[in-house]
């Protein structure tokens, strides 16, 4: 009886064919490498060829060298940079931003560690929860089973013209009349102190007329009967405030409504989720999220992390705020990914990014891991998002010192990030200026 049940349970466990094939490929590649290494090792022996054979070999070598030279001038050149720059973050004592971009391109992006908690202006990303599973987001990609490659997406800026076209399309999709809306434009006007940029000052106009030559559009607002739409082209986000139908009292009906609305806004296969996280004030996390499940692992995970649409319903009114992430990215570029075990190795080795003042120790406990995309960097000076959205393993590490600010019955976790792309394929620019 025991043997039968045990065998039946184990029979259900097996590795996939793709895993077997990848192992065979790896075995063959490793064996080839070994052979090549062995051949290149000095063996302490000298081989003597007859004179005629020696001249033939020399002639062949000369022809081969000429061919190689000719080919090298035709073939595209690999980028010459060789240093994988993943710094240990143990030396950093506060939240900061880092340039992270694929190797071989100009490093213009950054990864911003989000601040979700602050005390006297400083803060780090912490989660105060009763049970870590409250933070579970039902991700479409299992962090434990990453193999092969993942995509890195480059953000593309939106022109003002694209902003207006998109606004009209969004208004049409929800049945609002674009022509009869009241429009307002907010501009950012740079100001200087002693010829040094000191900040931006917002100015509003009713017409699309920049108040100054060097000012740029920050947002366009459309007020219509029953709501308002604001578009922020630099952030590639839109904010829609509308009245929700009366019957959205429970979570399920709100999520169904959100999915229907998402289809109208252009999502082909919308799926929704929400946290079960309760804040330590006892209130439930108030946002609901919708993302497009395209079937492609990276695309879906990217949509899930950045959430195409997030919805916040006010408790005291029927008003609903909908944040829409606009499609301001390229199609993505496949890059070799590391497994969660390799990421854990980097984590315990100190190769991580975090906003927490202290690093982790050998005693630190990783309570949960997720695979997430962090958005490209938003520069407050130019009000533009630029650079790359890169996948990261996000490790929730339990703080050893639970004394401060952790109410009784709660546990505090801090987020540590390790890029999910192989370090050889990333470059990190440490000299990046941070404006916000």
């Amino acid at each position: 009886m025991f043997r039968d049940v045990y065998q039946k349970e184990l029979d259900s466990l097996h590795v996939s064919d793709s895993f077997k094939k990848s192992v065979i490929d790896q075995l063959q590649a490793s064996r080839t490498d070994k052979r090549q290494n062995r051949q290149s090792e000095p063996v302490g022996k000298r081989i003597c060829f007859p004179k005629i054979k020696r001249s033939k070999i020399r002639a062949f070598a000369a022809v081969f060298a000429l061919c190689a030279l000719a080919l090298s001038s035709i073939l595209p050149k690999e980028d010459a940079q060789v240093t994988p720059l993943l710094y240990s973050s143990s030396g950093y004592t506060k939240a900061d931003a880092r340039d992270i971009s694929p190797r071989g391109v100009k490093a213009i992006s950054a990864m911003m560690i989000p601040y979700t908690f602050s005390q006297e202006g400083m803060g780090f990303e912490v989660y105060i929860v009763k049970d870590i599973s409250e933070l579970y987001k039902n991700s479409p990609a299992d962090a434990r089973s990453v193999s092969g490659s993942l995509k890195v997406y480059e953000s593309t800026s939106m022109s003002d013209r694209q902003t207006f076209t998109l606004a009209e399309s969004l208004l049409r999709s929800i049945g609002a009349d674009a022509e009869s809306t009241e429009k307002e434009y907010t501009w950012q006007v740079p100001f200087y102190r002693e010829d040094v940029w000191a900040g931006n000052s917002p100015q509003r106009t009713a017409e699309y007329t920049p108040p100054r030559e060097d000012s740029f559009l920050y947002s366009a607002s459309y007020t219509f009967d029953g709501g308002q739409l604001e578009i922020y082209p630099g952030r590639a986000r839109a904010r829609l405030t509308v009245s929700a139908p009366e019957n959205l009292s429970d979570e399920n009906s709100l999520l169904s409504w959100a999915e229907e609305l998402s289809q109208k806004l252009g999502l082909e296969n919308p799926e929704s989720y929400s946290y079960t996280d309760y804040t330590f004030s006892g209130e439930r996390h108030p946002f609901f999220y919708v993302y497009d499940n395209t079937g492609d692992t990276s695309d879906t995970l990217f949509a899930h992390s950045l959430t195409n649409i997030s919805i916040y319903k006010f408790r005291e009114s029927d008003e609903v705020v909908i944040w829409i992430n606009l499609p301001a990215y390229n199609d993505g570029r496949q890059m070799p990914a590391i497994t969660i075990n390799q990421a854990l190795g980097l984590l315990y080795n100190g190769d991580y990014y975090t906003s927490r003042p202290e690093g982790i120790t050998d005693e630190s406990t990783v309570a949960m891991a997720e695979l997430v995309y962090l958005d490209a960097y938003y520069d407050a000076k130019t009000c533009q998002k630029s650079g790359y959205a890169v996948p990261f393993y996000k490790f929730y590490v339990q703080l050893e010192n639970q004394d401060y600010l952790t109410p009784e019955g709660f546990v505090t976790y801090c987020a540590y990030y390790v890029p999910a792309i192989h370090p050889d394929n990333l470059q990190v620019n440490d000299d990046f200026s941070v404006y916000n």
Binding site: F2, R3, V5, Y6, Q7, K8, E9, L10, L13, H14, V15, F19, K20, V23, I24, Q26, L27, Q28, S30, R31, K34, D131, I132, S133, Y136, N138, A143, R144, S145, V146, T339, I340, N341, L344, G345, L347, Y348, D362, E363, S364, T365, V366, A367, M368, A369
Partner: protein, 159 residues
């Protein structure tokens, strides 16, 4: 040799994976260990004497790698269970289905659980198990006896 790799991977990967799942408890770690086991083949210069020798060698390497993995600094610190979705997202076991015997086997000491796997799943004779586990036959018999006793008690208490 290309065919050899293919044969070995196709013949043993599932069974080695099942063996690893007795130690690592998550599929990603188990797959990593299986992969490392096969890579160890490359370090071996001598041919195997016979298929039984090949099998015993792979099992022994796999067990050693599983133990190394458990000893590694981070695997001790990671709460594997918490990587799994919370209970509300997991698939429920339908009523009337047999309970997870594998979980009971996992709770046995290392040597006992490996012996149980090789004896009850791989149908290996005690003499081969002893060879694969680098132990005496009587020791293997003793591990199996103790494991049977513990399992009988656990299964009776829990299910």
């Amino acid at each position: 040799m290309k065919d050899d790799f293919e044969r070995i991977v196709y013949e043993y990967s599932d069974n080695l994976f099942r063996l690893c799942m007795h130690y690592t408890k998550n599929t990603a770690d188990a797959e990593d260990t299986v992969q490392q086991t096969f890579l160890k083949l490359l370090e071996r210069s001598e041919p195997f004497e016979n298929p039984e020798h090949e099998k015993a060698w792979l099992i022994r390497v796999c067990i050693n790698l599983c133990k190394d993995h458990l000893k590694s600094s981070w695997s001790k610190k990671v709460v594997s269970e918490n990587f799994l979705p919370p209970p509300s997202h997991r698939e429920e076991i339908p009523d009337g289905t047999a309970p997870a015997i594998l979980d009971c086997v996992r709770r046995l000491p290392d040597n006992q659980r490996t012996a149980v796997y090789l004896f009850y799943y791989m149908d290996m004779p005690v003499s081969r198990i002893a060879q694969a586990m680098n132990a005496k036959q009587n020791t293997v018999l003793s591990w199996l006896r103790r494991a049977r006793k513990t399992l009988a008690k656990t299964i009776k208490e829990e299910f």
